[in-house]
Amino acid sequence: MRSLARQREVWLLAAIILLVAIIATRFPAFARPGNLLSVFNDTSILIILALGQMAVILTRSIDLSMASNLAFTGMAVAMTNAAFPAIPVVLLILMALAIGAALGAFNGLLVWKLGIPPIVVTLGTLTVFRGATFVLSGGAWVNADQMSQGFIGLPRIVFLGLPMLSWFAIATIALFYLLMTRTALGRSIHAAGINPVASVYAGIDVGRTKFLAFCLSGMVAGLCGYLWISRYVIASVEVANGYELTIVAACVIGGISIAGGIGSVAGAVLGALFLGIIGSALPVINISPFWQLAISGGAIILAVVLNARGERRQGRIILKRAEA
């Protein structure tokens, strides 16, 4: 099973290299390292969000409220920054992590303690968090001139040739890799998704594991709230509207099974990169950006078809075959 999973990420990597190669035939400069690094930088936020979503999907749940959480947390830190410019950015980032995690914990508690299906809970909080953003800001925007230089500048500071935004993504990838492969929580997250019943017998608290996964996804959504606002230098209620399904799409392309248990950090990163490359390549090779949605839709369907073929071989689907 591990070799199969690994194989899927290899295939996805090959598909990405092929994609870049095809783009390079139309526009060679796209494949230059400098440009690829800037594509990575542009995709950083989606990568971080996809990692949080991955943890949730692995436990057989889904978090549709991430984009709304991002908007709320972003608005909260932007308003704090506008009101008290003296507060250091590091504290604001900690604040973003805390607010995001609290919103995630709210989802997690409803799933854990009341047993409401995650899709219902996060469908509700999707609108509630976005509405709360409006209530918080009164519908007003926080503009560039209201934010402090340190607040806006941090993601753009270049360190070892890469902007801090990229470093945030790299650090998150590293942390998630350690978390998923080297900690008890990572094992529990996988186990709770593969076989919840067996996990309970193995002494894993499945509900608590789901709760922690939601806290995690909320925390990264909060972090991205700060990153998004400081990168695009505007905080409004509309920030990242409709982005929740893009995040799920990145996970799906990355081979993370919506049925839980199967998926890896590399998959989530590659899935997000795949969408990021399509997004940044289209204008460069003179295809109208209006094609972007249809192309990502086609890519998602193709990825699912290929993934399903891989999963079917694993024997989890034994029962499913009886349906046909």
């Binding site: 469908l123 509700g124 976005r130 799409a249 109208s288 078809v305 349906e323």
Partner: protein, 333 residues
């Protein structure tokens, strides 16, 4: 005979325990909520209790409600369709293309509904032939269908639909009773009959409760699911005709975000998101409640975003309350 009738009515009731084992049935709860919101609206706004404003209210839920009827069956069978709003966008775009080619009103309506049906069939094929999870397939087709609408239209819009098309989304059948409302109620009756009074409806519940057992008892699970996806596509096509007619134009961003509202309606209506339980009456009541909430808040000049927060809170509270009550009852016992 009476035994069979008894078990028939009982099976879905027993299996949706977290949602229905409250003090009273889910539908009663929804009626109470609806009446409460109706009273609040009447007190809060002097413009609410008036035949024309109550008629306007129905436009808030009829289009989404039509889709919710079919979506309810699909969710009861254990599947989901996130692409319904994108189907509306694509069907409306194809109607616009037909308009450019000189199609008349009957032709436009046929093309709109036909496109919806085809999109639904495409979803159904992907899910049943390839055995893929529907939530993922329809996230893909959601982008694909709306993406095609964007490719065709870009930032343009189709306008200049014939006068006769306007009847579907703006017309009245008698005095203040809109064509949309009549269509919604008629469709609700048809779907109620289909789900609660036919063997097809029984198989939908059976599949949602246990697909494997259903397959072994001779139910053609994949075929039923395919039909349900076609039905959802069909209803989205009908909704596309209504919306296009009401707005008199097509933009690729038409009906953005409707999919989540439709699913909220279905879940609020007491349909178990995991499949196997639900009723058409519940969905109709939930549609009316959502119409009441958005319209009432609109009359009180509450911004749109606060309407969505209210619907989100309503969804969570209405679902969480019976569970909390049950917990308290269990603890006392």
């Amino acid at each position: 005979m009476s035994d069979i009738a008894e078990t028939r009515r009982h099976i879905p009731d027993r299996l949706d325990s977290p949602f229905k084992s409250a003090l009273f049935s889910w539908e009663t709860l929804l009626v109470l909520v609806a009446v409460a919101i109706f009273i609040i609206n009447s007190i809060a706004s002097p413009y609410f209790l008036n035949a024309w404003s109550l008629s306007d209210l129905t436009f808030n839920f009829t289009e989404k409600g039509l889709i919710a009827l079919a979506m309810a069956l699909l969710i009861i069978s254990g599947e989901i369709d996130l692409s319904v709003a994108a189907i509306i966008a694509l069907a409306s775009t194809v109607m616009g293309m037909a308009l450019q080619a000189g199609a008349d009103t009957p032709m436009l309506v046929t093309i709109g509904i036909g496109t919806g049906l085809l999109c639904g069939a495409f979803n159904g094929m992907l899910v049943t032939r390839l055995g893929l999870p529907s939530i993922v397939v329809t996230i893909g087709t959601m982008s694909l269908f709306r993406g095609i609408a964007y490719i065709v239209l870009g930032d343009e819009a189709y306008k200049g639909y014939p006068e006769s098309l306007a009847f579907f989304g703006q017309g009245y059948v008698g005095w203040v009773i809109s064509f949309e409302l009549v269509l919604f109620l008629a469709a609700a009756l048809v779907f109620w009959f289909l789900l609660h009074r036919t063997s097809f409806g029984r198989t939908v519940f059976a599949i949602g409760n246990n697909p494997v057992a259903s397959a072994f008892s001779g139910v053609r699970v994949e075929r039923v699911k395919f039909i349900l996806f076609c039905l959802t596509g069909l209803m989205s096509g009908i909704a596309a005709v209504l919306i296009t007619s009401r707005l008199g134009s097509t933009r690729p961003s038409i009906a953005q975000g409707y999919e989540l509202e439709v699913i909220t309606m279905v879940v609020l209506g007491g349909v178990n998101i995991l499949g196997g339980a639900g009723s058409i009456l519940g969905v109709v009541l939930a549609a009316v409640i959502m119409g009441l909430v958005t319209f009432g808040l609109g009359l009180m000049n509450v911004p749109g975003i606060v309407m969505s927060i209210s619907i989100g809170l309503l969804l969570i509270t209405v679902i969480a309350l019976p569970i909390i009550f049950n917990r308290i009852k269990e603890r006392r016992a």
